[in-house]
């Protein structure tokens, strides 16, 4: 047993650092570190840089333009991405629909879609949840009825993250209503420009437009947009859920956020000295740092399992719960750190292109919004309660 990184792994880390030092635009890094929103253009700019480096599709096989990195290399990359304040890639195309296409799609689909994801030509969003089908995803109702060479899709999807930027959506749709819920679901790729699709913003608690409702009204989708076989969509969706889950805990992001917290607490005053010297607040930070340290090792243990050829099972679910709790607790302390200045709601200061003066600390404005936004971590992508159900069933066999 040697839990230090090997010389090769260290060298890889240096390469990644060198790349980020050279190529990460400073304005983007500043926004990410300050917890500000990025524009679509910011995301695209950064994606181009990664693509040119050949580092965008870290999880794909090399034949399609992936990196062939080991699980540990991917982890190191993610860690440095977070530490430098590079944006996390929007996962829906590169990390979600692409693996499904690679595994279950036909040759034509691979030829068509994968290069467009790499080039940034397509921006994908996800059409899973529906108003009546949240945790109980299999009860989804959006219908796709075969009509000659097309499916006619009717229904509604919701919580579609960044759907306002997307030109493509991958959807779970019901193609057979007679069978058991899981068995009549298919996996469709849909062009967002098709007539009959309406995207309506959902404004979330903190006032941001990050998610959407997507309505389908007699939307004609060519049958060649079906992935794999009809009525087997649930299998593909489940593949996606267990695929590469080692990043779920968001350790890198939490480490960056903790660093941010320490910097903020070193600047903010309480009783005329830096808040970080307040023993109670400092202990709260310390307790979080320790929790995070443990979660990081737990995450590395899972990664090492994957590296050794194992499958990350429901352990990832356990770690997802812990990881999201830690991240939420950090955003709680960030908000607390600025005291009364958590109250002002300064939308302009939060904006990606703000260049004016700041009411208080330069990083204060987004903190309360971020705290509220981060409540989603324990809800979306399978609530923490659902994750515990999974662990209970899969690992504990209760």
């Amino acid at each position: 047993m040697n839990i230090n990184f090997t010389a090769e792994e260290q060298a890889f880390r240096e390469t990644v650092r060198g790349f980020l030092k050279d190529k990460l635009p400073a304005d983007i890094a500043a926004k990410v570190k300050g917890g500000r929103y990025l524009s679509k253009a910011d995301h695209q700019r950064w994606q181009q840089v990664l693509s040119q480096q050949g580092w965008y599709a870290t999880h794909w096989p090399t034949e399609h333009g992936g990196t062939a990195w080991s699980a540990i290399q991917k982890h190191i990359f993610d860690e440095e991405i977070a530490a430098f304040g590079a944006p996390r890639s929007i996962p829906f195309g590169v990390n979600m629909v692409a693996p499904v296409i690679i595994k279950f799609g036909n040759e034509a689909q691979k030829q068509h879609y994968l290069p467009r994801i790499l080039s940034g030509e397509d921006w994908w969003c996800q059409g899973y949840s529906e108003p009546g089908a949240g945790s109980d995803l299999a009860s989804l109702k959006t219908r796709a009825v075969r009509d000659g060479d097309h499916y006619i899709v009717n229904g509604q999807k919701t919580w579609t993250t960044l759907g306002q930027h997307a030109n493509m959506i991958f959807c779970l749709v019901r193609t057979d209503v007679e069978v058991q819920p899981q068995r009549g679901i298919s996996f469709l790729l849909i062009d967002m420009d098709t007539p009959g699709i309406t995207v309506r913003p959902i404004i979330t608690i903190e006032g941001e437009h990050e998610v959407n409702e997507v309505f389908f009204d007699d939307v004609k989708v060519p049958v060649e947009n079906l992935v794999g076989e009809e009525n087997r969509g649930w299998t593909y969706a489940k593949y996606l859920l267990t695929y590469e889950r080692t990043g779920l805990a968001g350790i890198g992001g939490s480490k960056a956020a903790l660093h941010h917290l320490k910097q903020l607490a070193s600047r903010v005053q309480k009783n005329r000295k830096p808040l970080i010297e307040d023993s109670a607040f400092r202990r709260r930070i310390a307790a979080l740092e320790i929790d995070l340290m443990a979660a990081e090792i737990s995450n590395l243990r899972i990664i090492a399992t994957v590296e050794g050829g194992g499958m990350p099972g429901a352990e990832s679910s356990m770690l997802k719960v812990k990881g999201t709790e830690i991240r939420q607790a950090i955003t709680d302390l960030l908000r607390r750190a600025i005291g009364p200045y958590a109250q002002p709601f300064l939308e302009e200061e939060m904006a990606f292109d703000y260049e004016g003066d700041y009411l208080s600390d330069i990083d204060a404005a987004p903190l309360a919004a971020q705290y509220f936004n981060m409540r989603k971590l324990s809800i979306f992508g399978g609530s923490n309660e659902i994750q515990k159900n999974i662990v209970s069933k899969m690992i504990l066999e209760l």
Binding site: S129, G132, G134, S135, D136, S139, T158, W159, I202, I203, T204, I205, E206, G207, V268, Q269, K270, N271, R272, L275, A280, F281, R284, R335, R336, G339, P340, Y341, A342, Q343, P344, F345, L346, L359, S360, A368, A369, Y371, F372, R375, K376, S378, I379, F380, S383, N384, E385, K388
Partner: protein, 380 residues
């Protein structure tokens, strides 16, 4: 020992509740919020016509000598409606300071106006560096021949954007953060040198930072005794903390109710989600936090208007601590049990959650008050 409201208190409660029910649906509230003043002037007028803005004051000022309990009753109903009016700032804090420290003339001119709802006053007690320590005052007032010249900045003055009068704490002697040497001044909000940077708040209120640049005030602007304002500031902040506790309980009750309804109606996996034991127990924990909060709000109300004492301060800090903690628990769990829908702007729950979290940022959060209590705790 009697926890029941008197008949008068019940009437007061019903009056406030009825008014909030009819004027403050969530849709109305959103309209008020989006309007220029950021609250409903018509509602404020109704409050004052019914005497609610005069509750804590003596009959001489149109009030009815209401104690902490009367304030609690009104604030709980305002909390239930997520009301946006600066009741706590104008009536309780500004009104309280003037009532406690004001000269007859100041009471006549200022208190009458506040009590009648004729104008709104706000208080500037905190500063960018002060965190929650109200004795940490860097704003300075220099003595002039016939008055004072104020320079400095007051932070997050809720309601200050609509205030006609601002009550400002400023240092007249001593070092920053000394309790001694703080004085209070009544400043016209539109006086020369007063600049307000106005903003909405996360929970839908409005406020401002107040910049004072060579603002001169006459010597009659001094409220109370020179250098000795600190005890009154803490005393009135204590009354306001009790009021915030009451408001929080109103908001928590609504959040708990919305969540319980949701558990009974939302179905997943073929049953109402309230059939899942984990969610049931979570709901029990939320109710239990609410009970603890309710108890402390009641205790705080019952001592808020007592004479100043360490015992009173202890209770008030304890109450604010409990409210901060249970408010956060209820807010977070209400969102969690609702799932995605609990995170949407268009559903009222999100706004109850935001108000509950932000109450923790007013006049000291649970950490702050645990520290205060710990310092005041009897040790054996």
């Amino acid at each position: 020992m009697d926890f029941r409201l008197t008949e008068e208190q019940q009437m007061l409660q019903e009056t406030a509740a009825r008014l909030v029910r009819s004027e403050y649906t969530f849709e109305q509230r959103e309209r008020y919020r989006e309007s220029e003043p950021g609250f409903s002037k018509a509602f404020w007028k109704q409050l004052s016509e019914l005497g609610l803005t005069a509750v804590p004051f003596s009959e001489a000022f149109g009030g009815f000598d209401g104690s902490g309990v009367e304030t609690q009753v009104v604030m709980t109903e305002l909390g239930r409606g997520l009301c946006l009016e600066p009741y706590m700032q104008s009536v309780i804090l500004a009104g309280g300071l003037i009532d406690q420290l004001g000269s007859d003339h100041q009471k006549q001119t200022l208190l009458t106006g506040i009590a009648s709802g004729e104008f709104i006053a706000a208080v500037g007690l905190q500063e960018p560096q002060s965190h929650y320590n109200l004795d940490d005052v860097e704003t300075r007032a220099e003595r002039l021949e016939n008055g004072y010249r104020l320079n400095g900045r007051k932070a997050v003055v809720i309601g200050g954007h609509q205030a006609v009068k601002l009550i400002i704490s400023a240092r007249t002697s001593g070092e920053a953060s000394d309790a001694a040497g703080i004085s209070l001044f009544v400043v016209d909000a539109d006086a020369d040198g007063v600049e307000r940077q106005i903003y909405p708040t996360v929970d839908g209120l409005k406020g401002c930072d107040v910049f004072l640049r060579n603002v001169t005030v006459p010597k009659e602007a001094l409220l109370g005794t020179l250098d000795e304002a600190s005890p009154a500031i803490h005393y009135q902040a204590g009354r306001a903390m009790a009021a915030l506790c009451a408001e929080a309980v109103g908001a928590m009750e609504e959040a708990v109710k919305l969540t319980l309804d949701y558990l009974k109606t939302r179905k997943q996996f073929g049953v109402p989600i309230g059939k899942f034991q984990v969610l049931q127990h979570r709901m029990v924990d939320m109710s239990s936090e609410l009970e603890q909060a309710r108890s402390m709000a009641t205790l705080a109300a019952s001592v808020a208007d007592d004479g100043d004492s360490v015992a009173r301060q202890r209770v008030l800090s304890a109450a604010k601590h409990v409210i901060g903690r249970s408010g956060q628990y209820v807010a977070e769990q209400a969102i969690q049990l609702h799932g995605g829908i609990g995170m949407t702007w268009e559903y009222s729950l999100a706004h109850y959650a935001k108000r509950l979290i932000m109450i923790n940022h007013q006049l000291g959060d649970d950490d702050h008050h645990l520290e205060v209590f710990s310092g005041l705790m009897e040790t054996a």
